[in-house]
């Protein structure tokens, strides 16, 4: 016969509270549902439970201490410990759970409309009773050139797991836009579907162009004479050089639109906006200054409003 005081690790003078606290501590440690499949834990748990049964209350402790604890109880215990887990009166909960049991295979059924569905991102249950854990979505970042973003491109990226992904970048894609690749995320467990891969686009800036929405903006320097007389000059667009007609009398900041040379494709395509900048010669030659002084006398104007 085992000594319940030894089993619970308390002294014979321990109070019922101390005994209860010692019991709870051991019960928590050895509970079979926390140690599934561990026979030793199960045995310990039973010992602890029996010990508590013997001395857990004031009355029982008195009985036990005076040797009055009935033999029947001890026999029951010994019988209980001897029996296999197959035919004992009550199995531990984990012993009833074999993956096809009602609760563990049915935890989707009306019982998971709470935080857990959030944890597991809509965890479902297979029609066949097996679990369906969808794979996790994965996020990637892809840096593309300014022109690739404006005109569209095809790229191959290699995912961390070695998988190669053919990425078709649609023309006119915006900074931060995400492309979704269904089924290329984390693997699923059971019969669930794999997660999706999301590729977030970041656009490298260009020294030549800027983007505002679908429009491409570029600054084009012109001379004083081109500004006054107008001209036809070659400018760069994302499709290559085009000729642009500058009307007479434009200033710095005048904007000219080249239709359908922006980002995007087809009817969705933006425009190319040219922002003009009149550039004067840095060290005007003496002759030019003299010539302009003469012209100024004849064609004086004030750009600040009062002529």
């Amino acid at each position: 016969m085992t000594d319940p005081y030894v089993t619970l690790g308390v002294s014979k003078t321990a109070t019922p509270e101390e005994i209860k606290s010692a019991y709870k501590k051991l019960a928590r440690k050895y509970h079979p549902d926390l140690n599934p499949g561990n026979k030793e834990s199960e045995h310990k748990f039973k010992e602890v439970a029996h010990a508590f049964d013997l001395i857990g209350t004031k009355e029982n402790k008195q009985k036990f201490d005076s040797g009055e604890t009935d033999q029947q109880k001890q026999q029951q215990y010994e019988e209980y410990m001897r029996r296999g887990s197959g035919n004992k009166q009550r199995p531990f909960y984990q012993e009833t759970q074999d993956g096809s049991s009602r609760y563990s295979s049915a935890f989707g059924g009306g019982m998971d409309d709470d935080i857990f569905s959030k944890f597991f991102g809509g965890t479902g249950r297979g029609r066949n009773g097996g679990v369906e854990f969808p794979g996790e979505d994965e996020q990637y970042q892809l840096e593309v050139d300014f022109l690739e973003a404006a005109r569209g491109a095809e790229k191959v990226i290699t995912l961390p797991n070695g998988k190669k992904l053919q990425v078709k970048i649609p023309a006119g894609i915006q900074e931060g836009q995400k492309l979704k690749f269904k089924g290329h995320g984390g693997p699923a467990l059971g019969s669930g579907s794999p997660g999706d891969a999301y590729v977030s686009i970041s656009i490298k800036p260009s020294s030549e162009f800027n983007r505002v929405g679908k429009d491409i903006i570029s600054e084009v320097p012109i001379s004083l004479f081109e500004g006054i007389n107008g001209a036809e000059i070659e400018i760069q667009t994302i499709d290559g050089p085009v000729m642009l007609k500058i009307p007479p009398g434009v200033s710095t900041g005048t904007k000219l639109r080249v239709k359908d040379k922006g980002a995007g494709s087809g009817e969705q395509r933006g425009h190319h906006i040219v922002s003009l900048k009149v550039v004067l010669p840095k060290d005007p030659p003496h002759g030019l200054k003299e010539a302009l002084k003469n012209i100024e006398k004849q064609f004086h104007y004030s750009p600040r409003g009062h002529s």
Binding site: P91, E95, T96, G130, V131
Partner: protein, 89 residues
């Protein structure tokens, strides 16, 4: 492991030394779902689960808010263990 025997709620109360109100509460909280919800019949799994809830409350000091969380996690754990052992087969 699943026993096919089912017992009525009154017998279940006796077996678990509980009042019928406590078991009703367990059902209302959806902590247990009787194997036959209309006739209120309980199988071995239900009874083991009731015992588990009682042990969680009495021995572990788990409060009513935490009981469903622990049950859910245990259910998911058992379900995963089932899946893993099926996959290993």
């Amino acid at each position: 492991m699943k026993k096919l025997i089912q017992i009525h709620i009154e017998e279940a109360c006796e077996e678990c030394k509980l009042s019928i109100e406590v078991i009703r509460k367990f059902i209302l909280e959806e902590w247990i779902k009787p194997s036959d919800p209309e006739e209120l019949l309980f199988d071995q799994e239900d009874l083991a689960r009731i015992h588990l809830i009682l042990e969680l409350q009495d021995d572990f000091g788990v409060n009513d808010e935490a009981v469903p969380i622990i049950l859910q996690l245990l259910d998911q754990l058992h379900s995963l263990r089932g899946t893993v052992s099926r996959l290993n087969r």
